[in-house]
Symmetry: C2
DNA sequence: CTGTTAGCGCTTTCAT
DNA sequence: ATGAAAGCGCTAACAG
């Protein structure tokens, strides 16, 4: 009818009819059905964002950025949470596919997300990968410089006099974990320090650190004097385990990590971190996605690498000498 | 066609046809269009959750609870974030209404959410209010016992010897803020302590505490020796301001608050809090909502009040005497 | 067991 | 400036 024209402010309509339509709309509490509209227009103006841990401030900041960008560009944002689970990710793919969203912002759980992502690509759905790369998938991406950040964090520890630096890493199936390890090894090499596999530990990014793991590290004949945790929650888990066991940070072990700790660091700015611009991850991601949807994007895939900052705080302190050290 | 029957596993279908259909579906990467389906079925199997601050661990835990419950009950969850803004809330209402979701879980920004909520009710959309009440709206609710929690927190301070206890409250347009103030006043009255309006301050729940505000409190002739903050972020903001100004917690000022601080308290369990079961807020809310949708709910409105726990930690210490005190 | 018809609420496109 | 017809992709209700 003419109603459609009124709603969409399109075509010529007499002032009178418009008024009448609007008043009747009010009267009967009419709300347009966006599904019906999407069905015929073949677009939903909905974008979707998948994060791996809604509990982690890195991802909530990212979500806020994505939300703001989406709103400004006239899209709605569907937010979902995979809990680092490939299975939930798969469910999620089904949903967004059948919901006919216009594009997807995707923080993959890891390399095993490949089949999930392939499915997405097969439908030609515009896709931007966030934070983590997945070998085998070519698409737009917004990443941090994990390798460089890890290197700077490790060098910070070395500059403090630490020679025995442990790495508490995420699963090696996640690109950021691999790169952070590389950066860590690079820094060691650069300063002629040996890489010791017994200083390596792996855990889930979602706070999967156990007391046992910390015990193993601290009860070695030559325990580390510093620990580089690959993300904020890993660091928190490690510190909790350390305190449980009666160790102090940084006196007994310096701890540094990737990603800011918002609430945590406010009480008493504590953690030395490489802070990534989480909000910009989301904001930039949505911009790239919408560019792609509206065919304003360049032909090739874009790969944006956002800079990070080293914040030195209290969790990292000077190494104290011991007879184990050679230097 | 027959395809619909295959997809929905409904009606009688020969094994052969089913196989053929499935294989062709695979071949052409067919994905059912859930909008078209919802259009005819008049239900979307989508629930929607609005929280006021995606950055606050209380709400992210709540969201995880809602997510889990929704998944288990066969619904999808659309997550959104109002930033405590009535305007964003309004936009959101438009969205969920036109998206024809089956029900809404709603944490209102405050009493001014009333028109927004009325709009929702006018469409007869099943609605569950979360965490905050709104005068004028009758519906299912999941709440915490703000008054009792505030009372217990205040009494904790009193039992520590504090007589001059300030209240840093949320906006008085939010029901929880009003109730927390009542609980605070009750505790004072019960212990024959005077209520002093100059010990009251108001700020936005989203970390809107300024150094000025803290200054005003601390530079009074009789400054408070303890501060009760109405939520976690208010406490964090206050502590940050205090540390900025060179005060120590709890030595110079004890600080306690509502709601847990997840990440924050892990580093070194610090804040004395009334912890609310955030996850259960979300989980229970979805259950009530789905009951309502499926007409399994009782006739009247249900109002569930979830219990909270007092966790005494380091941010609250014994009051030290001063000549200002009478007792 | 499978196909047909109709219609969910909208937006084209083409009349009037 | 307004209306009529057709169809987006699906399912309910009947045929066959």
């Amino acid at each position: 009818m003419t109603v459609s024209r009124v709603i969409n402010n399109t075509g010529r309509i007499s002032v009178d009819t418009r008024k009448r339509v609007l008043s009747i709309m009010k009267e009967m509490n009419y709300v347009p059905n966006s599904m019906a509209r999407s069905l015929v227009k073949q677009e939903s103006r909905i974008l979707s964002l998948l994060i791996t841990d809604i509990t982690n401030p890195f991802y909530t900041s990212l979500a806020r950025g994505a939300e703001d960008a989406a709103r400004q560009l006239g899209y709605r944002l569907l937010l979902a949470n995979s809990d680092e689970s490939i299975a939930k990710e798969k469910e999620y793919i089904e949903t967004v596919l059948s919901a006919r969203v216009d594009g997807v912002l995707f923080a993959p759980a890891g390399d095993d997300s490949l089949p999930n992502l392939r499915k997405l690509k097969k439908q030609n759905l515009p896709l931007v990968l966030l934070d983590r790369e997945v070998p085998g998938i070519d698409c737009d991406m917004v990443l941090g410089d994990s390798k460089d950040g890890a290197k700077r964090l490790t060098e910070h520890l070395i500059s403090l006099g630490h020679r025995r630096i442990a790495l508490l890493n995420g699963a090696s199936t996640v690109s950021t974990a691999r790169l952070r390890r590389e950066g860590y090894e690079d820094a060691l090499k650069l300063h002629s320090l040996p890489f010791r596999s017994d200083y390596m530990a792996e855990a889930n990014y979602r706070m999967g650190v156990t007391d046992t793991l910390v015990d193993r590290l601290m009860q070695m004949p030559e325990p580390p004097t510093a620990l580089f945790a690959a993300n904020n929650f890993l660091a928190l888990g490690a510190i909790r385990a350390l305190l449980n066991k009666g160790y102090r940070v940084p006196e007994d072990l310096s701890v540094v990590c990737f990603d800011e700790l918002e609430a945590g660091f406010v009480v008493d700015p504590f953690m030395t971190v490489i802070a990534q611009p989480a909000y910009e991850f989301g904001y930039t991601g949505i911009q790239m996605l919408v560019d792609r949807i509206q065919d304003k994007a360049p032909a090739g895939w874009r790969r944006i690498m956002l800079p990070s900052e080293l914040h030195v705080r209290k969790s990292s302190g000077e190494a104290r000498f011991s007879f184990f050290d050679n230097e």
